[in-house]
Symmetry: C2
Subunit: 397 residues, 2 copies
């Protein structure tokens, strides 16, 4: 899968380096810089085993009151469950970036992704930092998006243009998957990491609100394995270089970029063969609609049936029935790919061939109407495959 | 795997028949009868998509005030999500059993296991019922335990003797797995079904209490896929033929039989290669200990690591961290198979070979001490395998 070329917004530059963190020979460090400073916002995993770099980044965002000039990300090592030594190594990295750029340490954000419980090889990382700073350049996001990949099979970038009175700004971003994906802001190991950037002018408080809203409708609506990472984070930076724009337009662009990136993450879920899109309608509340949609999308048996292209729709109803949301079987209307499967308390008479066809699409579209109210929500996942199991049965060794 | 020969308690008989419900050529109907009647208790799935036979059995237990003379179970078809037609077919089966035994319909309990959303082939089942009644006999549980199997690779029976003042009674039981296993009382499809029997005399209210306590410490502590079935049930029957015994002794026997059966179900989980036992200690409450233990035992990434014998213990901490239970990383002490992995906020220095060894045992014993209080609990599951995915990717078709 290829994604089109996307760009850094005005004011941003990036670079990558190879520190042989897990294995030699690949770019595994990325630096993003906003030379004149940016307003900054962040969303962090709710996992209580929170990685050292995220503890540090949270502190920096508070101390700087929502401002940052640089983000350092590495793959190959999560620096989670590494104790005070892990925190100290994250601080060493931040200090090295701050020194090289001649900025305050609290204007540097940092995150890591990779194996949990292993210390960062700073003896190989710190010598790379002057080179990272020296090779910063604007333009294409591709090299930086590639350097943050772990088990991803393609890089993930997105971009939307905001127009107002003849002027334009862009919101662009990058993300990584592809396992330990269940952002709350949250899941563990391959971890979801995303950076969103704009050259529109946005104050720090508004940027944080925009980011939260965007994340809630995107990364919080996907799961690959239900395992919320110790390292999930989404950062947003605004350089202001393109001037002021109506906040509603900028927020809409953030939402669109975040949604595109989230769907790219699902489509690259470890062992991906087929996607699942669950929309639940006529619920009493959005929370209940989301709970039912998420339970269906994450059911192992539903996910196995999707992998096999097996129209075993009873598993979908069974998942709804155990979701914890009050519902009456007689009120349910289930369709997949537009084909009725269950309605008025009884299975439909749709021919087997037709049922098989809709379960064998690249994206299996599950629609469940609860027949109760007017709220709706959606959730995205993918079939569970033997390849996912193989990948994760032998990850560290 | 073989289990030793176990017997019906005094007063109980059983028989099996072949009705070609899903496929021809195997015993797929089982009848258990207590000719002189028994006190009866039941636990049923909390799944709101509750199968027709369970709706009927619940009603019968209430109408009969906890008495029953017969239990009819079929495999190959769950009779769930089958509407009023499904309920009517379950009633036809019950009525046929009642007529053949000359008893009231409300003293017949019934359950089904197999595919959801398909109607029972009663045209093939009803003609078998007179033969089932004619061939009832006591003794070995084996044939009946085999007839309720679906994807199980071995039958599951257990038996414990209760002694008091020179007299004996037995508690014996049977169960089936092996997928859609997450009793609450609950999971969907292969479904967990269990029947416990004793010849001790136990009033209906006490029997229900004993059953609940036994189920809570056994079937409610296991999961194979997190998918609570539409058809899970555990029935307990007491014939009274062996006279009265201290309730504490009988309850202890029920607990022991239920625990043995539950562990047999896990060890036969679909695609089973390696078991997982999680014990969480020093929690503030049993509920919190259970929540952490269950989150670890059900984490896809932990389960994949166990399959691969990969000592990726960071996934265990990450699962604990997302369990929703407040905890501090510095307080955690994690060991697997007696080998320290994380303590005092930092990874241990246990050599890799030693860590690999404990992750490659037939049962991977995970111990997490939360360092908070005095409560503890446990949960059992198994590694997630490619075989599980293959089995469930192609179940109906």
């Amino acid at each position: 899968m290829t994604t089109p070329s996307h760009q850094f917004p005005k004011g941003f530059t990036g670079s990558t380096a190879s520190a042989a963190i897990k294995k030699p020979g690949r770019q595994d460090m990325a630096l993003i810089v906003c030379e004149d400073g940016a307003t900054a916002a962040g969303m962090f995993t709710k996992n209580l085993v929170c990685a050292a770099p995220l503890q540090l980044s949270k502190r920096h965002l508070i101390e700087s009151r929502g401002h940052a000039s640089a983000i350092l990300i590495n793959s190959g090592c999560a620096n989670a469950a590494t104790g005070t030594e892990g925190l100290s190594r994250a601080i060493d990295c931040v200090d090295a970036v701050a020194r090289s750029l001649d900025i305050a340490p609290e204007s540097v954000l940092v995150n890591s992704t990779g194996v949990i419980g292993v210390q960062l090889p700073i003896e190989r990382m710190l010598p790379q930092i002057p080179g990272l700073v020296a090779s910063l350049k604007g333009g294409d996001l591709l090299p930086v998006a590639q350097a943050i990949m772990t088990t991803d099979t393609y890089h993930k970038t997105a971009q939307v243009t905001v127009e107002h009175e003849g002027r334009t700004a862009i919101v662009s971003g990058m993300a990584k998957g592809a396992g330990m994906i269940h952002p709350d802001m949250s899941p563990p190991q391959a971890t979801m990491i995303s950076v969103l950037m704009t050259d529109a002018e946005v104050d720090a408080a508004s940027l944080q609100r925009m980011l939260q809203n965007a994340v809630d409708q995107s990364f919080h609506r996907i799961s690959i394995d239900g395992d919320t990472s110790t390292n999930d984070s989404v950062f947003a930076l605004a350089s202001g270089k393109a001037g002021a724009f109506p906040h509603a337009k900028v927020e809409q662009a953030f939402k669109q970029v975040a949604k595109e990136l989230a769907l790219l993450v699902v489509r690259d879920g470890e062992g991906f063969e087929r996607g699942i899109e669950v929309k639940v309608t006529s619920a009493r509340s959005n929370d209940e609609a989301l709970k039912v949609a998420q339970t269906i999308a994450m059911s192992l048996l539903v996910r196995c049936a999707v992998t096999g292209g097996d129209p075993n729709w009873g598993r979908i109803l069974a998942a709804a029935g155990r979701s914890g949301v009050p519902l009456r079987v007689e009120d349910l209307h289930l369709s997949v790919g537009g084909v009725d499967l269950f309605r008025d308390g009884a299975p439909s008479t749709t021919p087997l061939a037709e049922r098989e066809r809709v379960f064998r699409q690249p994206l299996v579209e599950i629609r469940l109407d609860l027949g109760q109210g007017h709220a709706s929500d959606e959730f995205f996942s993918c079939g569970l495959t033997t390849e996912y199991v193989k990948l994760n049965a032998d990850y560290t060794t």
